[in-house]
């Protein structure tokens, strides 16, 4: 009983958002709310593309999130492997410095990062969000932990058979690391697809906005008159996350349990 009420409380606001996005703007705020979309009106979904550049926000979000996800997969897999498997001078110290930065919140570094972004001349561009996020101490840590569990003998055997160090990494260990890479990718997708704080600071022109920032701006511009249009945008922004969750649920859960070390 208690759990059913809890489930309703968790699901209710999302359901209201969905059904209200399917009502005409004039009816949007009429109470009692309509919980089932009996006469769905898809006009709002057309309106989010005609009245506001939702398509542009969407593309911007895809570009930013996609580049960060791919970029971190490369940088973190390479460095995670090196910290786990390769002996070199200074490895311990450098890794300790990485760990130390994990404790520091984004707010403490945002001002200098903003200055660097300005110096690089990439303010108000998707690059201002992408470039500072291409490396990650946490991602490196996550990948290293995964590589540490792998048997060293495989690589040694490969070396004896004449494989280069790169081939040992690329053909043996990197292939075994795909679950950890999937977790890292999902984790990054969730945080950067939803990100609001950095876009708010780094982006100025509406044409560059990502979805969360664009939707919030839209809410301010249209006022209460067209809330169903705004809500249609909210639903559209949510769809990629839900689809990804359906196909890769395991990695979302893994990401949370691993993410608790962030």
């Amino acid at each position: 009983m208690v759990i059913v009420i809890a489930a309703m409380a968790a699901f209710g606001p999302l359901l209201w958002t969905l059904t209200t996005s399917l009502r005409t703007p004039a009816e949007a705020f009429t109470n009692p709310p309509q919980w089932l979309p009996l006469h769905p009106d898809f006009g709002n979904y057309a309106a989010v593309f005609s009245q506001i550049p939702l398509g542009t926000f969407f593309v911007n979000s895809v570009v930013v999130t996609g580049l960060i996800v791919v970029g971190q997969l490369v940088t973190c897999t390479l460095s995670g492997y090196a910290f786990a498997m390769i002996r070199f001078k200074g490895r311990g110290v450098i890794f300790a410095l990485f760990l130390a930065t994990m404790m520091v919140p984004l707010q403490t570094i945002i001002i200098p990062v903003f200055v660097i972004v300005k110096v690089l001349g990439i303010t108000d561009s998707p690059l201002s969000l992408v470039i500072p996020a291409l490396g990650s101490a946490f991602g490196t840590f996550l990948m290293r932990q995964y590589f540490l569990q792998m048997p060293r003998e495989l690589g040694e055997a490969g070396r004896i058979d004449g494989a280069s160090q790169w081939q040992v990494f690329r053909l043996i260990y990197a292939r075994m690391a795909t679950p950890a890479m999937a977790t890292l990718a999902i984790l990054n997708f969730s945080s950067f697809w939803s990100e609001f704080y950095r876009p708010l600071i780094f982006l100025q022109s509406q044409g560059k906005f990502t979805l969360p920032l664009g939707l919030v701006g839209l809410q301010g511009n249209l006022g209460t008159g067209s809330i169903s249009v705004v809500l249609a945008g909210v639903i559209l922004a949510l769809i990629p996350s839900v689809v990804l969750f359906v196909v890769a649920q395991r990695y979302f859960i893994e990401g949370i349990t691993a993410g608790s070390f962030r």
Partner: protein, 313 residues
């Protein structure tokens, strides 16, 4: 689940095989090449900014003219800046309430879901409690703003049916704080729920069976056996939850603009205003350094306190 990722003892520190100097140097070069990208990006965009932030906090700088060294003035000013001090209190109070609710509700839900016999029912509930996490905080703040609207919102409509339908959710100081807490907990509780569920499902069966054989009821088993066993997870959820909650920004920024007055102005909002609205980069840095120290302090206190209550197997 969580402990799997804890830092392990140095992996198999087997005696290095006897190899030529050249081979070892080759390996080292390969190592440096592999970490190069990460070192550059983490170095330039995380490590350097930490030092820069600390350095900037001793300067007065509007980003346009040349920075001026002011020593500890920013910190001195901070100590007498009412709104900033108030934001620290707001941040800590909101964070504590949010985290306590998150843990209690997340634990409750995890226990209730685990009692369900059918796997399918469990999956449905798990998915439902996870769903809010899939939306961005900005999206959530948008639709919750409509739901909590004093005049037209659905919540006051239903409260009106039972006779108290004019709650100033977003327009009174207390109401706004409560709303921010509710909205944040609503979205984030899936996080603690998933963590605690994972811990509960991985409890050793023999201990639970032994308890059942000894005649321990469900409540006793939960309080005396399950809770102590998952205390490391509860501890992590608290630490991570507090670190995140002390950086609260999106919800108050979008839903209340920090108001009414300064009732829901968090420290991160103050940093944002000082630096990016008022162009006081030095002062903003000083506040951000104090926030960092506060987060480290709170985390340190938790680690110290955990020795008494957290039970590691």
């Amino acid at each position: 689940m969580t402990t799997q990722l804890a830092v392990r003892p140095r992996a198999r520190a087997a005696a290095p095989p006897k190899r030529s100097k050249k081979a070892r140097r080759g390996e080292a070069v390969f190592g440096y090449a592999m970490i190069a990208l990460s070192v550059v990006f983490v170095g330039v965009f995380t490590f350097l900014p930490i030092l820069a932030s600390l350095g900037l906090s001793f300067f007065s700088w509007d980003i346009l003219s040349r920075p001026k060294f002011v020593g500890l003035q920013n910190y001195g000013r901070l100590l007498h800046d009412g709104p900033v001090l108030h934001s620290f209190v707001t941040t800590i109070v909101l964070a504590i309430v949010i985290v306590v609710l998150q843990i209690v509700i997340g634990l409750g839900l995890a226990v209730l879901v685990q009692q369900r016999r059918h796997k399918a029912t469990q999956t449905v509930f798990r998915t439902v409690f996870y769903l809010p996490l899939l939306a961005s905080t900005a999206s959530v703040a948008i639709f919750m703003g409509y739901l909590f609207d004093q005049k037209f919102g659905v919540i006051n409509y239903y409260l009106g049916l039972v006779g108290s339908g004019d709650v100033p959710w977003l327009t009174s100081s207390f109401g706004a704080s409560v709303t921010i807490v509710l909205v944040t907990v609503w979205q984030q509780v899936g996080f603690t729920f998933v963590l605690i569920s994972a811990a509960l499902t991985s409890l050793p069966r023999d201990i639970l069976e032994a308890a059942a054989v000894d005649g321990a009821g469900p409540i006793r088993t939960l309080a005396r056996i399950k809770l102590p066993l998952i205390s490391p997870t509860l501890f992590f959820a608290t630490v991570v939850g507090l670190i995140n909650a002390m950086q609260l920004f999106d919800q108050p920024f979008i839903m209340t603009k920090g108001g009414p007055g300064s009732a829901t102005t968090t420290t991160v909002m103050v940093i944002y205003q000082s630096a990016f609205n008022n162009l006081q980069f030095g002062y903003g840095s000083a506040i951000s350094i104090v926030l960092l120290l506060l987060i480290l302090l709170v985390t340190g206190i938790q680690f110290a306190a955990s020795r008494k209550v957290v039970f590691y197997q």
